[in-house]
Symmetry: C2
Subunit: 214 residues, 2 copies
């Protein structure tokens, strides 16, 4: 976790991650592996240490929606009541800390910890609402532009790496893989972004990108 990351996108809850680093069980997952499954009974919190994670939800006929992508410092599973409603999978090889909610709460420091957990849940809700607005009211071009902009904003360097493939982008944005690909090509054609391979890009015209993201 870099300094720049923390200051740019305050998604982390230091009080929680610090504690989880101390008491959480450290687990590693290979790319593509399931971290937990939709509808599993669960009382767990997961904290990403390294790598990246996606949460997904499946409809009966196989349509897939990605809830969010999680990076080092992020907490997964805050929304959970009795069972997970999303499953979580390793986007890349990754390391996570796992701890039972009940264990965490038995640790003392209740007051501060509860406040931090609530705060983290609140921020997760905000992010979900932003995602909602995008899915409901933005065009394919705007969706892809917003997505690339968000990614680029969390990096301090010029060059941005896409940890996920086109299918994951599509399932996050509510599009098909072909449409995502076409929009990416189009953004390159307008000299707004510039790709080096399919997993690496840089923004060449920020104002234009911001305008497109709407």
């Amino acid at each position: 976790m870099t300094l720049a990351y923390v200051s740019d996108t305050p998604r982390t809850a230091p009080a929680i991650t610090t504690l989880m680093d101390r008491v959480g069980l450290r687990m590693t997952f290979a790319k593509g592996e399931e971290i937990f499954g939709q509808d599993e009974a669960a009382d767990m919190l997961h904290s990403v240490v390294s790598g990246a994670v996606r949460t997904t939800r499946l409809l009966a006929d196989g349509r897939r929606q990605i809830g969010d992508f999680y990076y080092p410092g992020d907490i997964i599973g805050l929304e959970i009541g009795d069972t997970f409603r999303f499953s979580a999978e390793a986007l890349t090889d990754c390391v996570v800390r796992v701890v039972k909610r009940s264990a965490l709460q038995a640790m003392g420091a209740d007051e501060v910890l509860d406040r931090a957990l609530w705060e983290a849940t609140r921020r997760e809700l905000e992010r979900t609402q932003e995602h909602l607005l995008m899915l409901g009211r933005k065009s394919a071009r705007e969706k892809v532009a917003s997505f690339l902009m968000d990614l680029a904003q969390r990096e301090d360097s010029e060059d941005v790496a896409l940890p996920m493939g086109r299918q994951d982008m599509a399932d996050y944005l509510g599009l098909t893989i072909e449409t995502v690909s076409r929009m990416v090509t189009q953004l390159q054609g307008s000299h707004i972004v510039e790709f080096a391979g399919s997993r690496q890009f840089r923004v060449t015209r920020w104002p234009a990108l911001e305008r497109l993201a709407a």
Copy 2:
């Protein structure tokens, strides 16, 4: 608030609403009036006493997304950090209780109250995720079917009232008013629902509706 309502859809947080009924400022709003505005600085919680409320978010060019509809017993504003990110408007004439977060927390009973607020936030997040899945991956027909089903499920009576107009449904579902209207007509044509006027309906074939909602 009816008994049936509470048992069917546990969106309420009794510990909070009870307290707010005691200490909150009672305010009434006429249909269409703004309860609070997008980007207002705010530290308020609102609890719906009677009537119905919608939260909306506007894009620069006027596109509108409705975040959710709120009914008696629901709490609005849980996601809020420094400023509101949605505005709230009275869907019908309504009464709400308003209280400052800080005032609520100064009231004592901190432990229990915090837990209740967090729990309410968690449920709000769950609802938002469900909404997200719908916007991202469902067809217009499925969206309208899901919407009517949700409404019908929270009623104990056969006859269900729609407190919102077609435009509000459209902005909640990420559709246009015309498409909503067509889908409603189509559902009637298949004898799945039956409308009496545009604001009142009943479900005539539940299994078919459930199948369509996917």
